[in-house]
């Protein structure tokens, strides 16, 4: 793509951004909200996003009596001067043209270019300069292309991405799951972290759904990478997926904190939920099994607790035990500790997908995710502390990225500060555990947690409260708001935050055989042919 002039800067301020007067020969319709534009100042290139466009006129009478014929001389005469288009630009990055070190060249915007600074479209070189490229950096992963620049890759720095908790948002049907699958592939491919994925709807493990394909399904991580790198552990073993193990959770694995996280899902009052701490103190590790069998009246009297609340807790826990009977078992029935298997996998660097199968009700999902995550939290804290005290003897634990769907159920205001996920989002970065939050209602997630997310990948959101929530605490959010609201319903996302030097709207890569090939995936027939060829070469 050749460099192309768009117009000149005519107004601007550091707080409100720049105003571009479009050249008459530039068609307004060739521009899009969210497109890159570069204002070439005397020393710096100001990398900006187009956030808004407006039709203006110096001759208001022309608007009252518009030239009727689109090809008329009058319209040609008025176009571009008397009537013209203004575009609002939000500079996000200054690039020092004379600095050769790319890290030093990229600077936050602290000034503005002068009047009549020429503005042009970005080129492939510009995009590579800012976003890096897979060829030049082992940590960069191609996630898509900028708007209207389909052949130019935009890369995510996955090392920076995995350093902090991140979010993928978008309303239902906007390609959130595809995007998540692709980011997860990137994390596996670039070894940026070990994934623990709580796969509520069976989208990431063995296979996922694809409304666009004839079979209605697409390959999951396990098919692409094989059991040496990705394993699927399921709560609901069934013949149509190739799982690497079943998960059975003993009653004793449940802790009062898990019940606290389930309050809303099982309709428990806060008082009743807190009674679980009393019961744990009374019965010890086996409190869940004992609670199911206890005499409520007696225990309530002994503990000076409210009898009604205690009865409610017992009733709800019985229901929970019944709903989760498929995988939540009395201790005696659980032979293999799935928690240990998962921890072992993560330590070995094997990405693990927890498949829920039929057990995908919120209560079941939240409970399992809470139990497993809490264990990891304890273990990783412990190992990190040991590493910090004796770095020579104890290795740092690998970086774990925990993916949770329907994240607002874990991180909603009121419970986020009490559950393990709220803690991870806020502080566990230090212990090498981060979250990848996938959700369609970010406004339901506690603000404090949202503000801690390093990188946000947002597909279309049209609810104002969701848009505000996602952009809270982001500089220049006013401009990004209009960009976010104008995304296509599919395959487009606004990506901004820690893993990128500046916000960018990308057309995401399709998750298809071409993509799989770039990951090194071979179809079984190809794999067999390669094996035969290698074998033959061995004896040549």
């Amino acid at each position: 793509m050749t460099e192309q002039r768009l117009g000149v800067v005519v107004r601007g301020s550091l707080s409100k951004g720049l105003e571009l007067k479009l050249d008459p020969e530039v068609r307004q319709e060739s521009l899009r909200a969210g497109m890159f534009a570069i204002a070439g100042g005397t020393t710096y290139d100001f990398f900006s996003l187009i956030t808004d466009m407006e039709l203006s006129a110096t001759t208001p009478e022309a608007l009252d009596a518009p030239p009727p014929d689109p090809d008329s001389l009058l319209r040609a005469v008025l176009a571009g001067d008397s009537i013209y288009t203004r575009a609002s630009l939000r500079p996000h990055l200054m690039v020092d043209r004379l600095e050769s070190d790319p890290k030093k060249a990229l600077l936050p915007v602290k000034t503005i270019p002068g009047h009549f600074t020429e503005v042009r479209r970005a080129t492939e070189e510009d995009v590579n300069r800012v976003f890096g490229s897979e060829e030049r950096s082992p940590h960069h992963f191609h996630i898509g292309a900028p708007l209207d620049m389909e052949d130019i890759p935009v890369c995510l720095d996955l090392n920076a991405f995995a350093e902090r908790s991140n979010g993928i948002f978008g309303k239902s049907g906007t390609g959130k799951t595809f995007l998540t699958r692709m980011v997860l592939c990137g994390l596996v491919q670039k070894n940026a972290g070990v994934n623990l994925i709580f796969d509520m709807h069976g989208e990431y493990g063995w296979r996922g759904t694809d409304e666009g394909s004839s079979s209605g399904s697409t390959k999951g991580l396990r098919q692409l990478y094989g059991p040496d790198r990705v394993q699927v552990l399921t709560l609901d073993p069934r013949p149509d997926i190739q799982a690497d193990g079943a998960i059975r959770i003993p009653y004793s694995a449940l802790e009062p904190e898990d019940i606290l996280g389930l309050q809303k899902a099982i309709s428990l009052t806060p008082t009743a939920a807190e009674n679980s701490y009393l019961l744990e103190r009374r019965f010890g590790r086996d409190w869940f099994a004992q609670t199911l069998a206890m005499d409520t009246k007696e225990v309530a009297a002994d503990e000076q607790a409210h009898e009604g609340a205690m009865a409610a807790l017992r009733r709800k826990l019985s229901r929970l035990a019944h709903e989760c009977a498929g995988f939540l078992k009395p201790d005696a029935e659980v032979l293999e500790n799935a928690v240990e298997t998962i921890m072992g996998n993560l330590e070995k660097g094997i990405h693990t997908v927890v498949d829920f199968g039929r057990f995908n009700r919120p209560a079941q999902y939240i409970m399992v995710a809470n139990i497993l995550t809490r264990r990891i939290d304890h273990a990783w804290r412990d190992r990190t502390e040991r590493h910090l005290s004796e770095p020579g003897r104890h290795a740092k634990p690998p970086r774990v990225v925990i993916t949770i769907e329907e994240a607002h159920k874990f991180l909603e205001p009121g419970i986020a500060d009490q559950t393990i996920f709220g803690r991870i989002a806020r502080e566990l970065r230090k212990y090498n555990v981060t979250l990848l939050v996938v959700d369609q209602r970010p406004s339901q997630i506690e603000r404090e947690v949202l503000s801690q997310l390093g990188t946000k990948i947002c597909c279309l959101l049209d609810d104002d409260s969701d848009v505000d929530a996602v952009l809270a605490g982001t500089s220049g959010s006013g401009g990004l708001k209009s960009v976010l609201a104008s995304l296509d319903t599919r395959q487009q996302a606004l990506v901004f935050g820690h893993a990128l030097p500046m916000p960018v709207v990308v057309k995401t890569r399709p998750y298809d055989p071409v993509f799989w090939k770039t990951l090194g995936y071979l179809e079984p027939a190809e794999r067999r042919a390669l094996a035969t060829r290698d074998r033959d070469r061995l004896w040549e």
Binding site: E61, P67, L73, L74, A76, V77, L78, D81, S82
Partner: protein, 231 residues
């Protein structure tokens, strides 16, 4: 060099007043003319007003009720009592080496001969759209017609409409408070240009018979076309 149209009989920095050498021999309204000064320095102007009337301001012109053509034939002396004048707004100056749009340092001398500007001269003066500015400021002229006439003349010299949009854009800025005039000018310039309107100048006196054609006599006298004074 073409035949002179006339000569300046009054001038100032903005306006030339020219008396035509031939009755009705004025250039078209809105056309470009060149006043050639003896020093070789020329002034370029656009015709903004054309008039014909008696030399003697006290003389009253009366209707003769004669058919077209008949008047000149029967009263050839009238041509020597009348004159055609035109005014032109100065828009530029220069010599053979350089021609620029703008007001000349000094007004044209009186009795300078005035010629139609050549296509090359018009192109040089209208290369920048700023020639339109003095025209827009011309007082007492029908602005829309003047602009249409001048732009058509310039367009003819360029041989194409390539400059039309650039001139139009400049005009749009000059007329930003007079959109109606701009709209009118552009509307009239849009269709194929109208054929230039011109009045054939009066034939020179030598082309006419020296005498008036006799009026038909009443009665039975059979004088025919014979001159009565020859008797």
């Amino acid at each position: 060099m073409s035949e002179p149209l006339g000569e300046t009989i009054a001038s100032d920095s903005q306006v030339l007043e020219v008396e035509c050498h031939r009755l009705y021999g004025a250039p078209a309204f809105g056309s470009f003319v060149r006043a050639a000064c003896p020093s070789g320095f020329c002034q370029f102007a656009v015709v903004t007003h054309v008039s014909t009337g008696p030399f003697d301001g006290n003389r009253v012109v009366q209707a003769h009720r004669l058919a077209p053509g008949e008047l000149e034939e029967r009263k050839p002396h009238l041509t020597s009592l009348l004159r055609t004048l035109f005014q032109a707004r100065v828009i530029g100056y220069g010599d053979d080496n350089a021609r620029v749009a703008g007001t000349p340092p000094l007004p044209a001398r009186l009795h300078c001969f005035v010629y139609p500007a050549t296509a090359e001269e018009i192109r040089a003066i209208t290369a920048s759209p700023s020639f339109l500015r003095p025209l827009v400021q011309t007082p007492n002229a029908p602005l829309e017609d003047l602009l249409v006439g001048a732009i058509r003349s310039a367009q003819e010299a360029w041989g194409s409409g390539e400059r039309l949009v650039a001139w139009g854009k400049y005009l749009a800025r000059l007329l930003h408070q007079d959109y109606v005039t701009l709209e009118g000018v552009m509307h009239r310039l849009s269709p194929a240009p109208m054929p230039a309107y011109s009045i054939a100048p009066a034939p020179s006196p030598s082309a006419h018979p020296r005498w008036e054609k006799p009026l038909p006599l009443s009665g039975n006298g059979k004088r025919g076309d014979r001159d009565p004074f020859e008797d």
